[in-house]
C-alpha cells in the first residue's frame, strides 16, 4: 500500500499534463472535471496512506521511487517519506485542494466571463493541478532537495496564478507585478534554504531527512558545531519567512490577492504558505539543537502575528483583510513551532486551512454576488455611475445578510472560528498555542494575546461591514446567491471549521473528561508532542478577549454607515495612527527605498558606466591604439610599387656595402 504513494503526485501531474497539452481540445467542462478527478484521486491515495500507516503501527516508512542525483559521494533519490506528519499534510492539501477544485469549477466559469476571456478556463486547472503535484512533492519528500523541488514548484504555481489575469490590475500591469514580486521575494527565502542545504550536506554528509536525524541523535556538538547548527536553522527560518510570509519577507502575500479567489484560498491561505511551518516541524530535531534559533523563530512568529493584525484592522478590501489575517495566523503557527509546540502549530495549521479556505471562498462568493448584483442593478436602473467600483471593496457592500442564505452562514462560522470563539475549531487550536506560550514564554504569550484580540476585532469589523447595515451600492443591493457547485464546498468546509476542534480536544482536567487528543497521539509518531493540561485562565482570557473585541467592533461598526464615502469609525478613534495602519506601515515604500531603487540604480550603473563605459571602452581603446599605431606606420606606404623597389634596392645596396666595408 505504501508503494502507491507516488500516485499522490502522479495523479495531479497527469491531470496537469493532460490539460496542458489537450485542454483546449477537451473544452472547459471536461478539462475542469479532469482536474477535479485528479485532485480527488490524490486525496484517495492520501487516505490509503493513512490506512497503510495505521496498519503499520504508525511507524514511518520511506518509499524510494528512482535514483536522482549521484555525484561522487553525494546522493539523493526521488523518495517519499510516509509518516504521520507528511500524511497529515497530504490529507489537508489534497482534501482542501479537492474542495477548492470543485469550488473553482463554478467560480472560474463566472470569473472568466467577468474578465472577458472564457478560453482561459482550462489553463486555471492546469496551474491548479501543477500546484497540487508540487505541494505534494514538498510534503512527501524524504530529503531536502526534493522538498526544494516542491518548494520552488509551488512558488512557480503561485507566480502563475497570481498573474493569471496578467493583463489586469493597476495600469494593466498590477497583477503581473504582484506575481513577479511574489516569486522574487520567495527566491530570497529560497536562497536561505539553498545555503542551509549546503551547510547541512558538508556538516552532516547527507540531505536525507531520516539519515540526517539519525546522525543528529548521536552527534556531540562543539562550539563550532553549535554555531553551524544555529546558522543552518536560521537559514531555514529565512526560507520559512519567505514561503510562509513572515517578517521581513511577508510583503508579497497581500499583493498575491491579485490571483483569483480559489487561488487565494488554496495557495495563499490553506496550503502553500504553511510550507514553512511544515518544514520547521519536519526539521524539529535540528531546531531542538539550536535553542537560540528557536527563540528567534518564536519571536518572528509572534511579531508577525501582531504586526499583520494591526494592518488588517484598517484594510477595506475584503480579501486584503483576510490576507493580513493569514499572515497573522501564520505568525501564530511559527511562534508555536518556535516554542517547540509542534503539535499545536500543526493543529492550528489544519484548522486554519479549514476556516481560512472557507473564509476566502465565501469572500469569493460574496464578490461574485456583488458583481452579479452590479450587472443586474445596472441593468435595472439603466445607469452605470457607480457600477465601476471595486467589487472587493467592503465600503461598497453592507446589508448582504438575507440575500446570501448560505454564504452568510458559512462566512459567519468561518469568521467566528478565526476569532477563536468556542466551540469552533479556531478556539481549540489557537488556545493550545496560547497555552504553550503561557507556559514557556510569557512575553510571547502577551504579544499573541494582543494579536488574538485584533483578530477577533477585524473579523467582527468585516462581518459588520459586509453583511449588516444598509447596502451602500446598488450592486450590494442586488446581490444574489452563488450556484450549488460553489456553495457545496463551502458547506463542507464550514462543517470542518465547526467540528475541526474534535481533532485534538484538550484534556479538560477540570471536569474529569479525558479529551481525545487525536492529532497529538497521531503526530507523536513523527514529532515530540507535549500535552499541556487544559488551562482555564488561558481559555477564559482568550474567550473573553474575543468577545470583547467583537463587542468593540459592534460598537464602532454596528450603527449602519450610510454611504461608501463615510469616514471609517476607527479612523476617528485612532486619529493619525489609522493612516499608518491603512498604508501598511509604509513597509512597501521602505523596501522600495532600501532595496528596489538601489538595485535598479546599481544595475543601470553597472550596465552603462561600468560595462559600456569601463570594460568595453578599455578594450575598444586598446583596439583603437593598435589602429593608431598602424595608421602612423601606414604613412610610409605610398602605394607606388617602384618606390618600394627603390627602397628595396637601396636596402640591398646598404647590406652589400655593410658586408663589403665592415668586413
Amino acid at each position: 500500500m505504501f508503494s502507491l504513494v507516488p500516485l499522490v503526485v502522479l495523479f495531479p501531474l497527469a491531470g496537469f499534463a493532460a490539460n496542458a497539452f489537450f485542454g483546449r481540445q477537451l473544452g472547459a467542462a471536461r478539462a475542469g472535471l479532469l482536474a477535479v478527478l485528479a485532485a480527488g484521486a490524490a486525496f484517495l491515495v492520501a487516505v490509503v496512506q493513512l490506512a497503510a500507516l495505521a496498519g503499520n503501527g504508525f511507524a514511518p516508512v520511506t518509499v524510494p521511487v528512482a535514483e536522482w542525483l549521484r555525484v561522487g559521494d553525494f546522493h539523493v533519490a526521488w523518495a517519499f517519506q510516509v509518516d504521520t506528519l507528511s500524511v497529515t499534510m497530504m490529507l489537508v492539501v489534497a482534501g482542501v485542494g479537492t474542495l477548492i477544485h470543485i469550488y473553482a469549477l463554478g467560480y472560474m466559469r463566472e470569473d472568466v466571463q467577468h474578465n472577458g476571456d472564457p478560453g482561459r478556463y482550462p489553463r486555471f486547472f492546469v496551474y491548479l493541478n501543477l500546484f497540487l503535484a508540487s505541494m505534494l512533492v514538498l510534503v512527501g519528500a524524504d530529503n531536502f532537495l526534493m522538498l526544494f523541488v516542491g518548494w520552488e514548484g509551488v512558488g512557480l504555481c503561485s507566480y502563475l496564478l497570481i498573474g493569471f489575469w496578467f493583463e489586469k490590475g493597476a495600469a494593466g500591469l498590477g497583477n503581473a507585478r504582484a506575481a513577479m514580486k511574489a516569486f522574487v521575494v520567495n527566491r530570497i527565502g529560497d536562497f536561505g534554504l539553498l545555503l542551509a542545504m549546503f551547510l547541512i550536506y558538508w556538516t552532516f554528509g547527507t540531505l536525507t531527512f531520516s539519515e540526517l536525524f539519525e546522525r543528529l541523535k548521536t552527534v556531540r556538538l562543539d562550539a563550532t558545531g553549535q554555531l553551524i547548527v544555529t546558522a543552518i536553522t536560521l537559514l531555514l527560518l529565512l526560507g520559512a519567512t519567505g514561503k510562509s510570509a513572515q517578517l521581513p519577507l511577508y510583503v508579497w502575500l497581500p499583493d498575491a490577492m491579485a490571483g483569483p479567489t480559489p487561488v487565494s484560498a488554496l495557495i495563499h491561505a490553506a496550503t502553500m504558505v504553511t510550507a514553512g511551518i511544515y518544514m520547521i516541524t519536519r526539521n524539529h530535531v535540528l531546531f531542538a539543537l539550536a535553542p537560540q534559533s528557536m527563540e528567534v523563530v518564536a519571536w518572528i512568529g509572534a511579531a508577525t502575528a501582531l504586526f499583520a493584525g494591526t494592518i488588517a484592522v484598517a484594510q477595506t478590501d475584503i480579501k486584503r483583510v483576510l490576507a493580513y489575517s493569514t499572515i497573522s495566523q501564520l505568525g501564530f503557527m511559527i511562534a508555536a513551532v518556535g516554542l517547540g509546540a509542534y503539535v499545536a502549530g500543526m493543529f492550528h495549521l489544519v484548522t486554519h486551512a479549514f476556516f481560512k479556505a472557507l473564509l476566502f471562498l465565501s469572500a469569493g462568493s460574496v464578490i461574485q454576488a456583488v458583481e452579479r448584483g452590479g450587472a443586474q442593478g445596472g441593468a435595472h436602473a439603466g445607469q452605470s455611475a457607480e457600477a465601476h467600483h471595486d467589487p472587493q471593496d467592503m465600503r461598497f457592500m453592507g446589508g448582504l445578510w438575507g440575500k446570501l442564505p448560505i454564504t452568510q452562514w458559512v462566512f459567519l462560522i468561518g469568521a467566528l472560528a478565526l476569532a477563536g470563539l468556542p466551540p469552533l475549531a479556531g478556539f481549540f487550536s489557537k488556545d493550545e498555542i496560547l497555552l504553550d506560550a503561557f507556559e514557556h514564554n510569557p512575553a510571547i504569550f502577551w504579544v499573541l494575546v494582543a494579536a488574538a484580540f485584533l483578530t477577533a476585532f477585524y473579523m467582527g469589523r468585516q462581518l459588520l461591514l459586509v453583511f449588516f447595515g444598509q447596502p451602500r451600492s446598488t450592486a450590494a443591493a442586488h446581490a444574489t446567491e452563488s450556484p450549488a457547485v460553489v456553495t457545496t464546498p463551502l458547506i463542507i468546509l464550514a462543517l470542518l471549521s465547526f467540528f475541526g476542534g474534535l481533532l485534538n480536544l484538550p484534556k479538560f482536567g477540570l471536569y474529569g473528561y479525558a479529551g481525545s487528543l487525536l492529532l497529538k497521539e497521531f503526530l507523536s509518531f513523527s514529532v515530540e508532542a507535549e500535552a499541556l493540561p487544559f488551562n482555564a485562565f488561558v481559555a477564559g482570557l482568550s474567550t473573553v478577549l474575543a468577545l470583547a473585541a467583537l463587542g468593540l467592533a459592534y460598537v464602532l461598526y454596528g450603527r449602519a454607515q450610510a454611504t461608501a464615502q463615510d469616514r471609517d469609525p476607527l479612523a476617528a478613534l485612532l486619529g493619525p495612527v489609522f493612516g499608518w495602519l491603512r498604508d501598511k506601515w509604509y513597509v512597501d515604500e521602505l523596501y522600495g527605498f532600501l532595496v528596489v531603487t538601489p538595485f535598479n540604480t546599481l544595475s543601470q550603473l553597472a550596465a552603462r558606466a561600468l560595462d559600456l563605459g569601463g570594460v568595453d571602452m578599455t578594450f575598444n581603446n586598446l583596439g583603437e591604439l593598435a589602429r593608431a599605431v598602424g595608421a602612423g606606420l601606414a604613412r610610409f606606404q605610398l602605394g607606388y610599387a617602384r618606390r618600394y623597389a627603390l627602397v628595396m634596392f637601396l636596402g640591398a645596396v646598404a647590406v652589400l656595402a655593410y658586408f663589403l666595408i665592415a668586413r
Binding site: G72, W151, E152, E167, R177, D611
Partner: protein, 498 residues
C-alpha cells in the same frame, strides 16, 4: 582506410561531405540546399549517437585513432582523435544543436543560402574537431578553424553593425589564441611530442606550469568569456543571425570551458590549484555582474547575451572548485546552458522575424496574442533561471554544492548563490516586459503564433530540458569515471602544492 572510416573521423568530417555536395549545387535551389545541409547535420548527429553507443563508461580516451600528420625535424604532429567522458556529451551537444540551428534558418536566411550553409557545416567540423583532438597542433588548427566560419556568419549575415561585431569577435579570440599557440609550440619543442595523453602522463614541473597555464587560460577565458574579457560577446550576439547566436552560445563558448578542463586542469594541475581562488573570484564577479547588467538591458537579445556571462560564471566556479561535484556540475551545466540559451536565442529569433525589433519597450502582452510561444518561452526562461525540476537547477545546485567545499571559503558559493535570485529577477523581468500586461503596441496585435516548424525546433530542446531536470543520472554516469580521474589528479596536485 581505418583512420578514414573510424567513428571519430566520420563524426568530425562528415559535414564536409555535405559541403562538397553543396559546392556542386546551384545557389538558387534554396530549399534543396537547406535539405542537403539539414540531412548532413542529421546524419552527423546519427554518427555521434553511434559514437555514444560504442562509448563505454570508463576513464581514459576511447575510440582513439592516430596517424602521423606531418613531421619537420623534431616537430611532429599527429592526426590524433579520441573521446572521453569529458568530451562525449559536448560532441553530442554540438551535433544535436547544429541541425536545429540549420532548420531555424529555413525562412530567416534568404541570401547566399549556399554559402551560409557551407559556413555552418564547416563550423561544425571545427567544433567537433576541437572536442575530439588529442594532438595540440591539431587542437589549435581546429580551434582557429571555428573562427573563420563564425566570422563570416556574423560579418555577412549579421545585423547593422555586423562588421564591427565580427571584427571585435575575431580580434578578441585571435589575440587570446596567439598566446596559446606560443605555449603549444614551446610544449612540443621541449617535450618532443604534441600528444596530450603523453604530456599528461609525463607531468610538467610546477615552475613551467604557471606561465603555460596563464597562456592557455587567456585564450580560453576570452572564449568563455570570463569577466572582464566578455565585452565582445554582447556585440557578437546582437549582430549574429539567430542560428549563429544559437551555436555561438550553445557550443562556441563551451570551447573555452572545455579548454579549461582539458588543458588547464588536465595538463597543469598544480598551477590550477594555485590559480583556483583567483579564477573563482572572477567567476563570482561574472555571475553577479552578468546578472546585474542583464537586468538593465533594453534589447532582449542583449539581455540573453549578458545572462550567458552569468551562467558561464557558474560553470567556471564549478570547474575551479576542483572536486568531483563541482566538475560534474560544471560539465552538465555546459550542456544545460547550450540547451537553455540555445532555446532562448531561438525564441528571441522567432519574435525578431515577426517584428524586426528586439526592444523590450516594443512588446508587452504577447501572451494573449501568442499563447504557445509564451508557454514555451516560460519553460525555457524557468530552465535558465534554475527552477528545480528543470535542467538548470541540477547543474547549478551541484556546482554550488561543490563550490561550498571546493574553495578556501564558503563565501564563494554563498555569493554565487545570490546569482540564483538575480537570475529570477532578470528572466521574470524579460517575461514581464514581453508577455504580460495588455497588448499596448498595435503592431503586436495580429502577430501569428508559432508555426509547427518553430515548435518542432523547440520540442527536442524542451524534452532534454525536462529530462535532465528530472533524471540527470545517465548524463552524470557518462562523465563520472573521467571526472573522478581528473579530480584525483587534482587533489594529488593540491597535496603537492601544499
Amino acid at each position: 582506410m581505418d583512420v578514414l572510416f573510424s567513428t571519430l573521423t566520420t563524426v568530425t568530417a562528415f559535414p564536409l561531405v555535405g559541403v562538397v555536395i553543396l559546392l556542386f549545387m546551384r545557389g538558387e535551389q534554396k530549399t534543396a540546399l537547406r535539405w542537403v545541409a539539414l540531412t548532413t547535420a542529421l546524419i552527423t548527429f546519427g554518427l555521434s549517437l553511434l559514437m555514444l553507443a560504442q562509448f563505454s563508461i570508463a576513464p581514459g580516451f576511447q575510440l582513439v585513432i592516430r596517424t602521423p600528420w606531418f613531421r619537420v625535424g623534431d616537430f611532429a604532429a599527429d592526426f590524433y582523435l579520441g573521446v572521453d567522458g569529458i568530451s562525449v556529451l559536448l560532441v553530442l551537444l554540438t551535433t544535436f544543436l547544429v541541425p536545429i540551428a540549420i532548420a531555424s534558418t529555413w525562412e530567416a536566411v534568404q541570401d547566399r543560402v549556399r554559402e551560409f550553409l557551407i559556413a555552418f557545416l564547416l563550423l561544425e567540423v571545427g567544433m567537433v574537431g576541437v572536442f575530439l583532438a588529442l594532438d595540440l597542433v591539431l587542437f589549435y588548427v581546429f580551434w582557429e578553424f571555428t573562427l573563420l566560419p563564425m566570422l563570416f556568419l556574423i560579418g555577412i549575415w549579421g545585423g547593422e553593425r555586423r562588421t564591427y561585431a565580427a571584427l571585435k569577435f575575431f580580434l578578441y579570440t585571435f589575440a587570446g589564441s596567439i598566446f596559446m599557440l606560443v605555449a603549444i609550440v614551446w610544449l612540443g619543442l621541449s617535450y618532443g611530442t604534441f600528444a596530450l595523453p603523453e604530456l599528461m602522463a609525463r607531468g610538467l614541473p610546477a615552475g613551467t606550469q604557471t606561465w603555460l597555464f596563464l597562456a592557455f587560460a587567456l585564450a580560453f577565458a576570452i572564449k568563455v568569456p570570463v569577466w572582464p574579457l566578455h565585452s565582445w560577446l554582447p556585440d557578437a550576439h546582437v549582430e549574429a543571425p539567430t542560428a549563429g547566436s544559437v551555436i555561438l552560445a550553445g557550443v562556441l563558448l563551451k570551447l573555452g570551458t572545455y579548454g579549461f578542463v582539458r588543458f588547464n586542469l588536465g595538463l597543469f594541475p598544480q598551477a590550477a590549484v594555485q590559480f583556483a581562488p583567483f579564477l573563482g573570484v572572477l567567476a563570482v564577479i561574472g555571475i553577479l555582474y552578468g546578472a546585474l547588467v542583464s537586468y538593465a538591458q533594453a534589447d532582449a537579445k542583449k539581455l540573453v547575451a549578458y545572462s550567458s556571462v552569468s551562467h558561464l560564471g557558474f560553470v567556471m566556479l564549478g570547474l575551479f572548485a576542483l572536486n568531483p561535484l563541482g566538475l560534474q556540475g560544471a560539465l552538465l551545466q555546459m550542456i544545460n546552458h547550450g540547451l537553455s540559451t540555445g532555446a532562448l536565442f531561438l525564441l528571441v529569433g522567432f519574435i525578431y522575424e515577426r517584428r524586426h525589433t528586439r526592444l523590450l519597450s516594443e512588446f508587452g502582452g504577447l501572451w494573449k496574442v501568442m499563447p504557445i510561444y509564451a508557454a514555451l518561452a516560460l519553460v525555457v526562461f524557468l530552465s535558465s533561471a534554475g527552477l528545480p525540476g528543470l535542467n538548470g537547477f541540477v547543474g547549478e545546485f551541484t556546482i554550488l554544492l561543490g563550490a561550498w567545499d571546493g574553495y578556501a571559503h564558503w563565501g564563494f558559493a554563498a555569493a554565487a548563490a545570490l546569482g540564483v535570485i538575480l537570475a529570477a529577477v532578470y528572466l521574470l523581468w524579460l517575461f514581464f516586459k514581453m508577455f504580460q500586461g495588455e497588448v499596448t503596441n498595435p503592431k503586436n496585435a495580429g502577430l501569428p503564433d508559432l508555426t509547427r516548424r518553430e515548435v518542432a525546433l523547440l520540442v527536442p530542446l524542451l524534452i532534454l530540458i525536462v529530462w535532465i531536470g528530472v533524471y540527470p543520472q545517465p548524463f552524470f554516469d557518462l562523465m563520472a569515471p573521467a571526472v573522478d580521474a581528473l579530480a584525483a589528479n587534482l587533489s594529488a596536485a593540491a597535496l603537492a602544492v601544499r
